[in-house]
């Protein structure tokens, strides 16, 4: 609908200076709203509206945000599991959105995805062996030591060779997620999109899978796009973190910058809601409670999308500051004010406990 308003040519990232493995620029995904007898398009839900980021080899970028903010859609659009409406995704010099079918097949070898729900993402009629070996059968390499490879993969994710003959329903959620990871690793990819890989798992299992992902990254040098809503998991695993709100990245920085010195009021509100392990600190800590629900993404607010729920805007207005920019100008991601990228007209670092 509206042109992606923020299109930084090269976000100043803290990663290595080399060419990024994945460069996303102005990514937009709209889902049409159809209504009436003839299913005319009467509007569009902007799931993702102008997301840009870089991801370097071996790096982990976390994407966080509440439900419906477009983080999973971003992951799927990066993989081209759904076509993007606008913007570009360049993976190692190849434009993913415009790749022909053979180029896309080649890309699929190098970028893989792990899904949120380990119960839905494994075909219940296939054995683990068949599931993990399928990428090899599709891309060749099955006849050439494929069985060996499957055994190594199962070993890598902590499953036993004899598990290969079983069906997904014979496993627990954590084990199933390991199967999903083994499948994604079968082709030795460079990038793994992890779409809330631990959200569906029991808390006691989450740590095991997160540690497994870290070990695999150390061993294979993969880049991760880690999508989640659990802030502490994201901090633990990510080098850099992007916070999304209503289809846009509102703050992007290294994990330490973002968690210790958040500058965007939304990030600050999110972080203030993370439970602290120390009950005394937890009691003393000041929580920022956001009013209302996220706006309807079919009709996002003008200017800054967060302004309808922004607590800082209210504070500033109480102090007599003119906040008309908030409703008129869409803030761009900029690192000028606080040292890491923030999309806010009035960014202010707030040191978090």
């Amino acid at each position: 609908m509206t042109a992606p308003s923020s299109e930084p040519s090269a976000p100043p990232s803290s990663g290595p200076s080399a060419e990024p493995l994945l460069a996303v620029r102005g990514l937009v995904k709209e889902f049409p709203i159809r209504a009436g007898l003839f299913r005319r398009t009467v509007g569009a839900v902007q799931a993702v509206s102008g997301v840009s980021f870089d991801l370097h080899r071996g790096e982990t970028l976390g994407l966080v945000g509440e439900s419906g903010c477009g983080k999973s859609t971003t992951g799927r659009a990066v993989m081209r599991l759904i076509p993007a409406t606008a913007g570009s995704v360049v993976f190692d010099g190849v434009d993913v959105q415009r790749a022909g079918s053979s180029a896309l097949r080649a890309l699929r070898r190098r970028m893989q995805i792990v899904f949120q729900d380990p119960y839905a993402s494994l075909n219940p009629r296939m054995t683990v062996q068949a599931i993990v070996s399928e990428p090899l059968r599709i891309h060749g390499g099955w006849s050439d030591g494929g069985a060996e490879r499957v055994r190594d993969l199962l070993d890598l994710v902590g499953l036993r060779p004899e598990h290969a003959n079983r069906f997904p329903h014979e496993f627990s959620g954590g084990q199933r997620q390991r199967i999903g990871i083994a499948r994604a690793l079968a082709l030795d990819p460079d990038l793994l999109v992890l779409d809330e890989p631990v959200s569906a798992l029991d808390v006691s299992i989450q740590a095991g899978v997160v540690n497994l992902l870290e070990d695999i990254q150390d061993e294979l040098g993969l880049a991760y796009l880690f999508i989640a809503h659990d802030l502490s998991v994201v901090r633990h695993i990510s080098d850099r973190v992007g916070v999304m709100y209503l289809g846009k990245i509102v703050e992007l920085g290294t994990a330490d910058e973002l968690y210790d010195q958040p500058a965007h009021p939304y990030t600050q509100a999110l972080l203030s809601a993370v439970p602290l392990p120390d009950p005394r600190k937890q009691r003393e800590r000041q929580r920022i409670v956001l009013e209302g629900d996220p706006p309807n993404p079919a009709h996002p607010p003008s200017g800054c999308r967060f302004r309808t729920r922004c607590w800082r805007k209210l504070e500033l207005e109480a102090d007599g500051v003119d906040t008309s920019a908030c409703s008129e100008i869409d803030p761009l991601l900029s690192a000028d004010e606080v040292g890491h990228e923030v999309a806010c007209h009035f960014p202010k670092v707030r040191v978090m406990v």
Partner: protein
């Protein structure tokens, strides 16, 4: 296979291996689940026996089904004629067995063809959606509203009443219900995440349809296929009665059933025997279908 694993020498392989169950192949699991289904096994045995007896009829049936003895006329079952004789004095037992050749052949062939055609049409329509779906489903509707008997009459007049023509016409009239059922299933299965996962690893549409979607629709397909056998045998009976089906001197069970209709008050046995055979066949086929459906489902605990 497992012996090699120890050689790879990494992680789990170093641990003391627990007493390991021999690897189960999918076929073994399938067979075991099927064999646990007692009724299905019973049904399968009956059907196999039926097929062997019917198609081996010339080796063991003592009487010629076409040999007439008009003076004898209709007789009730006796030691000489196990199922009695019909109006022309022909041995009814021999006639029932030989008629089975046509009924069973038509039933099986029609079920196979209509299931394959219907499953393919439904899968393609459901998977691709949009215009493809519209076209295929309108074609399906078209076949559903066509008056079957008119089509049959035309086809038989044009190509003659051979088995092939009857099978093709019956299959052509029977695939629509399977297509609709499969389409509905595919619509729900294709939204599952494992289909997206298959796409993410680069699987082609054909692979997704045949390896991921259709195997997850196997339950309704098998149930419909067994129903199709039953329906084909019964429909063929109807058509035979109207003179469009199997042409004399060939006979099918349906054919005999309707021939016997006029005698129902005096010679009930003429009605019972072919009817009994239809009943047994249809029932047993349904048992087998039930067992197959459960056996195909890896989550079934039987």
């Amino acid at each position: 296979m497992t012996a090699v694993a120890a050689g790879s020498g990494t992680g789990a392989a170093d641990l003391p291996a627990p007493p390991e169950a021999p690897p189960r192949s999918q076929w073994q699991l399938f067979r075991r689940r099927f064999l646990h289904h007692k009724l299905a096994v019973f049904g399968l045995i009956v059907i196999v026996i039926l097929y062997v007896l019917v198609f081996g009829a010339s080796f063991w049936v003592p009487n010629d089904p076409l040999e007439q003895d008009v003076l004898l006329g209709t007789q009730p079952p006796s030691g000489e004629h196990w199922f009695g004789t019909d109006q022309l004095g022909r041995d009814y037992f021999a006639r029932v067995i030989y008629a089975g050749q046509i009924s069973l052949k038509i039933g099986l062939a029609v079920a196979i063809i209509s299931t394959v055609v219907g499953a393919l049409a439904g899968a393609i329509a459901g998977f691709f959606g949009g215009l493809v779906d519209q076209i295929l489903m309108r074609v399906t509707d078209l076949f559903l509203i066509v008056p079957a008997i008119a089509i049959l009459a035309i086809a038989l007049k044009k190509f003659g009443g051979t088995d092939i023509v009857i099978i093709l016409v019956l299959a052509g009239l029977g695939w629509m219900s399977i297509a609709r059922v499969v389409r509905g299933q595919v619509l729900s299965v294709k939204e599952k995440e494992f289909v997206e996962a298959a796409r993410a690893i680069g699987a082609s549409n054909g692979r997704i349809i045949f390896r991921h979607i259709l195997p997850n629709c196997i339950g309704p397909i098998v149930v419909n296929a067994t129903l199709a056998i039953a329906i084909a045998i019964v429909t063929e009976s109807t058509l035979s009665f109207l003179g469009f089906g199997v042409q004399k001197p060939d006979t099918s069970w349906g054919n005999m059933l309707y021939d016997a209709k006029g005698n129902v008050r005096f010679d009930e046995h003429l009605l019972y025997f072919p009817g009994l055979f239809i009943l047994i066949t249809v029932l047993c086929v349904n048992f087998v279908g039930d067992g197959l459906r459960d056996a195909f489902d890896p989550q079934s605990r039987r």
